[in-house]
Symmetry: C2
Subunit: 324 residues, 2 copies
């Protein structure tokens, strides 16, 4: 029999948030070695027993889950049939010793939550992989049943970073996985850094440039397609987005100038960006997926200062293969 090698960090192809129907499925995904026990451990590079994953599923009354901090109760001393604590837990238990070893080595621990755990943080059914945590301390204390228990404090490796940072900083951190290198002291190949890249897909970015701000002010934050001015604050403060007709970026992206920007509500912005709306050269808006009266082109709402560049309308239609 070959000894299990502990494997630290994320597992290929398995993002935090991944859902599993059963412990067997968790095991098959190679997130956790065991089918029943809470602690997954194996030999590390130095041949010592080290933990690489735990399952939080309210196995012990004394567990405490605050999402980014978890107090986890070790293994051993429970009656096999009732699951109740009937003896002291000890550091001689291999799982407990392995978790301690990972605290000393700074190994990240994969945390999987089951549906029996803390209500607000647990999946409704089955199991969910919740990313990497770090063991930051362990001790023994008297448990509720009166026996000594081994306890571990784990902290979630931060997805953002610490403190009060700007949105731009947060984005950079989200995208690059920077910003917590001061926290992660593991030398396990900076796993959380890798993750961040894999785990977070950016669906949509709304930029706010000087040009965009000017266009939004011209239109007083009302959507040029549907007329809506989205109220987001007291005293009627409105929200609108600057939508680039010919998208920015890429090898033949459009320019960030007024003639290429519309003031739109977020819904119409998404629809323009996905080609569900387009504009004719005479500045009528066509809804490609409307039927009946709603499918008639409607004039774009304009103001005299705001000149739209025909070539950007054409580039947008060309991109979406619309012949008009």
């Amino acid at each position: 029999m070959v000894a299990y090698r502990a494997f630290f960090g994320h597992v290929d192809g398995c993002l935090p948030g991944a859902h599993f129907e059963s412990r067997q499925a968790v095991k098959e995904a190679k997130l956790h070695k065991e089918r029943e026990a809470g602690i997954s451990w194996g030999l590390d590079a130095e041949g010592e027993r080290a933990a690489d994953a735990i399952v939080l599923n309210q196995g012990y009354d004394d567990d405490l889950d605050k999402w980014d901090e978890v107090i986890y109760t070790g293994a051993g001393g429970r009656d096999r049939n009732t699951g109740r604590q009937v003896e002291d837990q000890t550091w001689g238990n291999r799982g407990n010793a392995a978790l301690r070893r990972s605290r000393i080595s700074g190994n990240p621990i994969r945390v999987i939550r089951g549906s029996e755990g803390e209500r607000d943080y647990s999946p409704v059914s089955g199991y969910r992989y919740d990313g990497l945590y770090q063991v930051v301390g362990e001790w023994t204390e008297a448990g509720r049943a009166g026996f000594q228990i081994c306890r571990f404090r784990l902290r979630r490796l931060p997805v953002g970073r610490q403190g009060n940072t700007s949105l731009e900083q947060q984005v950079r951190d989200l995208i690059t996985g920077q910003g917590h290198s001061d926290v992660v002291e593991s030398d396990a190949d900076e796993p959380e850094r890798t993750t961040r890249r894999q785990a977070i897909t950016v669906e949509r970015i709304v930029r706010d440039t000087a040009v965009v701000r000017r266009v939004k002010e011209w239109h007083r934050y009302a959507c040029q397609v549907c007329g809506l001015a989205l109220t987001v604050g007291a005293d009627g403060k409105s929200y609108a987005e600057g939508a680039h007709i010919q998208a920015l970026g890429g090898s033949d992206g459009g320019p960030d100038i007024e003639a290429n920007v519309l003031c739109l509500c977020p819904n119409c912005h998404v629809r323009l960006d996905r080609g569900a709306l387009y504009l004719t050269d005479n500045l009528h808006v066509v809804d490609r997926y409307a039927s009946g009266p709603a499918s008639r082109p409607v004039p774009l709402r304009t103001v005299v200062q705001h000149r739209i560049g025909e070539r950007f309308l054409q580039a947008h239609r060309r991109f979406w293969r619309i012949s008009d």
Copy 2:
């Protein structure tokens, strides 16, 4: 009199897209040294004349503006009164020599467009700062008026990067200003890199995680607040966003789990994120800025699999100082 020192790159506090009423205002912003001439130049670190900015305002018939590439006609040989070409241009002209010097040195050139320029790329009135370009070549040729003219090809330093990159790559580039370091060969303190950070404010980022995708599927992409399923493609393909009730990130950010995510249309997402909408513990949605019948709380649309965590509703209300 102290000689003007050429200054390469962006000017503090002046983002691309900045608008000016007059050449005088452009000069006062220190974007361009001259009040009339097209080329701004001064002495560089080695005491040579080098250009640092140009104004594109259809000064010459032969100018050609394709936004990211510009053919610019040099200085000299024009009649002071009529502005028409009456003599050959030469490299002896200081402005022309200075632009050539900047091509050799790789200095970035600030480009300012006036309202008389190429229609689609020029401001409706006044002047607009359009960021940094690089002189990539110069030559002489016979102009339309029959005299020799000095010509320069300028290319805009890329805002994105080259080729077909992923959205995530584009974001990273947008935020960090990476991706064009292979283009900028200037040693002028990597000015374009600095800019990007200043120039682009990210107003809004929509993340798409495994958890978000699951929640959206549960609700079949219909908004849990207003019921809208935004049609974005043929065969009724819909678009929705995962909205974190207690925002992600920051020192006490919420978790990325189903109990903290709603499936919303972009408009309702913005309003939730800005505190214009909130939820009561019994899962009713309140519009804080509605009046009349619209101000009555409406039940959140739910599905049985989707359990919402009360603590996240409470954290959201606490953040927006809503006592309910």
